[in-house]
Subunit: 354 residues, 4 copies
């Protein structure tokens, strides 16, 4: 019963098979290969627009390179104060941006609101005391399992445009958020004002496949040099491209992410039926954040259930964690079995019954 993350499993059989098939023969290095070309075409279809694609090896690199594309070294990037780019990437965004500042904004469930953006700009002192704010980075889904609706994204975009900011979306769990929102990829990105997207494949069934996608193609100018300089241009790039090709082919991504989300839903439904358990934030993607008695967590751990305890800072005030409670994060994946879910729920119920 392993729910630590969705990056602890390998690739889906179909994607692994694509790697094996792509291995044969000569291919141009550094992206001059047929797989890369096909993936670029697929992504234009997927997003229903022209765009620029750059394959990279990690989500951290994708986010950091994308941040650098919208925020110069002398600028400020705003994001949620508990976002992955602030808290979990060991300063990679600052490094790739060349020393720019990242400033965190508050918000329930890891989501930034237009009101928070407005308040932040109103509090700016003017003059040259602070590096000018150049970009906003949001996570879809957030560190707390929530997904912005296209309307919410569009409202954020509207809030930042008068200030000249560009909008980046960290889509490490893009597939899961897309299914949660039930909209099209285009609606969730460029139609709502997203300029650049980190599209994650690794957490949804690839072994290592991430992409930086530019809807505002002027931002992609020189990006091939930035990627190379960032150590992210693979000589045998077909390794990544083949994964994305299989990922996108016949909506394989949807199959994978739907399963992961469904497993999370099953877990959320199961747990919330048990006295003493409530959710920190609504279950929307492939993550569940139950608040439960600390003793129950101890019991589950002893029974072999693996998950992380989580930050409670971003909870709504009325949903605060009591001293004898704990908030946990369960992540499901394309490989999670219903049996595992049911096992967790059964054990929690056992404990609740005493």
């Amino acid at each position: 019963m392993y729910f630590l993350s969705d990056n602890t499993v390998g690739a889906s059989p179909k994607i692994l098979d694509a790697i094996v098939k792509a291995n044969a023969g000569h291919a141009g290095s550094y992206g001059a290969d047929a797989w890369t070309e096909r993936v670029e075409k697929q992504l234009r279809g997927f997003f229903e627009c022209d765009l620029d694609v750059f394959l990279v090896t990690t989500g951290t690199a994708a986010n950091a390179l994308a941040a650098a594309a919208i925020c110069p070294p002398w600028g400020t990037l705003i994001t949620h104060r508990e976002s992955h780019v602030i808290d979990d990437e060991c300063g990679a965004p600052e490094f790739f941006m060349g020393g720019a500042k990242i400033v965190g904004l508050p918000g329930i469930g890891g989501k930034i609101t237009p009101e928070a953006v407005h308040a932040h700009f109103e509090a700016e002192p003017g003059g040259t005391r602070r590096p000018p704010i150049k970009g906003l980075s949001i996570a879809q889904g957030t560190e707390f399992g929530l997904a912005y609706s296209p309307q919410e994204i569009a409202a954020l975009s509207a809030a930042i445009r008068p200030h000249g900011l560009k909008l980046h979306m960290d889509g490490a769990r893009f597939s899961n958020a897309l299914i949660a929102q039930g909209c099209s990829p285009a609606e969730m990105t460029w139609k709502s004002g997203v300029d650049v997207l980190s599209l994650g494949g690794t957490k949804n069934g690839c072994l290592m496949a991430e992409a930086v996608i530019f809807f505002d193609r002027t931002l992609a100018e020189d990006f091939r040099f930035r990627r190379k300089r960032g150590g992210q241009t693979l000589s045998k790039q077909r390794l990544i491209a083949a994964q994305f090709e299989a990922f996108l082919d016949q909506d394989h991504w949807r199959e994978l992410a739907s399963h992961a989300n469904a497993m999370a839903r099953r877990l959320a439904d199961g747990l919330t039926g048990i006295p003493g358990i409530r959710l920190g934030w609504a279950q929307q993607i492939n993550e569940v954040f139950p608040i439960m008695p600390r003793a129950m967590w101890g019991y589950l751990t002893a029974q072999g259930v693996k998950c992380y305890d989580w930050s409670e800072t971003s909870l709504a005030p009325e949903n605060a964690v009591a001293p004898d409670e704990v908030i946990l994060r369960f992540v499901t994946s394309f490989e999670t079995h219903a049996d595992e879910i049911d096992g967790v729920v059964a054990r929690a119920r056992d404990f609740a019954k005493g």
Copy 2:
């Protein structure tokens, strides 16, 4: 007849198989997996010493991170003036070093001599006009197909120690150089004074496997943070580790590199038997640099032979390329067939016969 590079083929069957096998099941992310642990142990055996290993995704990243580990932002890294780190990595070393300066030294065949190092230090003006020299980076083999002997490496190490420099070896073709020298991995590295090594797997049969290896382990302090910040810490690191495991297992690397070197030897032997062809530099690893009539190159190209023309700056003066000549680079790989070699030689001979 494809000799553009050794990074245009996929992985060897054994290494590909290792990827497939490693794909199953849960494994700790970011390197907390059994494959990584085994590879670290293997490498300690391979090099006959304790050491620190960090797996990364590209040779550019390996070199740039290693350079940063021996040269601070306010320092200077010296290397050959036509080295890969100066000419072919799009400024990645400067980026990862945080703006340090790279200064190129002259030398035949891409090799730096102790004399060149001494001369460089003697010409330094003192004061604070120049960033202090902190590291030396050498390539094994060089951009011109040569490999340093352990004695040559030790002499370089002796030349830089009084100035406090650290020594980095770019081992993108480490396997090929090792076979060429016929010495042990230890003799070619730490026993000769190498502090940090970029060990390449990608060009010798892996799909994407590079490692930064610290013999001077004090340099590895904080390196896990630097790697993460550099976007080079894979969540599913077993993807790289499994390749290295197969690469090292039962001297598979030797099998691969020996074949590639033998194919280069076959090509060198074949070509130098043809009137009008001589070698720019001795064939030592899996590269051959014939100087031939420009018209012959045109003929070979028309016949489907693919290779690059190459820089002549690093030739010995007595070996200069005539106006009607051209110098070419042929790279062989673990997959190169003797038939391909013989095909090139036969066509060159045909042309020479008129």
Copy 3:
């Protein structure tokens, strides 16, 4: 009645005279001059220890270079969440540190406590998610006019040493804090654990004179290169050195700062005697932070009193600003006249009387 800052006046007559006198004749450039040599000797006497001194042109440069000397590009610098280095230097510390992260800690009146440091370390997640914390920067005095006692500084030093951090002191108003504490320069710095100090002269009677002073001299290694690379090595450095020489000569700094502090005391005493006015934080240095009715501020402004309204985030909870109140910052300088002080107090009293 001008209280916007202590950097809006020129130099004291004695210091200006020193510039004029130093102007004559040839002198070695880039610090190889007699003034620089004398100042270094003076500072060793002033601090009663051996040390390394580097003169620079701005407080921002002094802080940023000092921060870089204690925190590498892949590190984290902790400081107060409303410190000058976070909020007012336009990202200079991030730039000079090469992209390191700055994280702000809470604390009343801009002061960090050992408890806040402990709490911060306890909340760190471990692993490689965050850049390792390498340094602590404190301001003496703070952005809210408070000065740490030597005991407080020593307690902070004790709190960070087990974690390997180095301690920087931003001493833009060092003279004022020193007089407020009534201790020796040595007691307020290295005897309490300060490793590197930004010593400000500009705000206390110089035209442009700042120094980075290393008590931990191992940190000063290579610093001359860092300073030059940072554009901070003046060819005619005697311009700065002559100012510091006069500043230190016969305790001129004490004369200047004592006056400024006394004027602040006079203002604090005058204002707190008026109904409706209280201080946000105790008056300790040359700054006064009265909380007063917003209407009173309007009246003072109309009467020609110039000062800034200020942040209330760092107030003690019991001292919160009411909706109809405002908190202001008045800064006095070596040139402030008692008449100006009395003028402000009289006008405030007039308003209070109605």
Copy 4:
């Protein structure tokens, strides 16, 4: 007889007096003062165009900030291979550019030719192996005392425009070069295609006054943030502005530089009349580069003549230094006396006579 540099003397009496006068009273900090406003107006008149001005403290900072304004972190700046920005600024340009690469081009007397620019572009390999070339930096005058004519500058500008480069002029000795060329400031800058200029005052009679001047004002966007972040925004900026005001007032700069140039001419004329002495490069500005017998230099040194020996790499081949010869640099300043010149010449003549 002191000819080591033109930065070893203080300020001219008029400029020193301006500092003294500017010292009195309150003034807005960080450039919000009347002196700064007046200087900006003066410079618009001086250059006969609209422009943006940013005062800074060192020539190194001016060049480094200007370089950063025309070349992004992922770009390449080309300049002469023995230029000040490559050889004498301790990596400041690389630092301020954020890790960009500087590549040196050859050329006699420190001057770059359109042919050298063309040759460099032709040799570029394409692809992403090298950071894209974004800017050209030339020195007016060069490290070897030569000044480009407006026609030469325009030809360089024409050579780079098709490649999208911007043109920076390092004008540390702008005044001297301007007098040497006998043209207008406008002709020597924007009318010839210069986009951004480092205008030096320090070497021509100021204590510390440098300016970055943007003729292409789009490049100045955000530059106030970059300057502040670079630690170059003085709180009491009137210190610099007052110097420039006096420097520009009534052509004081011309008076100072004409004298320095005339002294250099006197030295050049005197020395070239002596058997065994010839000039390395023509005397054009306030520098003289005699090639003389090594023994003569020994004699002069013993007689108290102070100057540097200099690099011979940039000599025309036909003017090479013989083994028993040496090439020297003499720099004259606004304070150099004719007596000093005559003293050097007399001693050289004495030696020549035996």
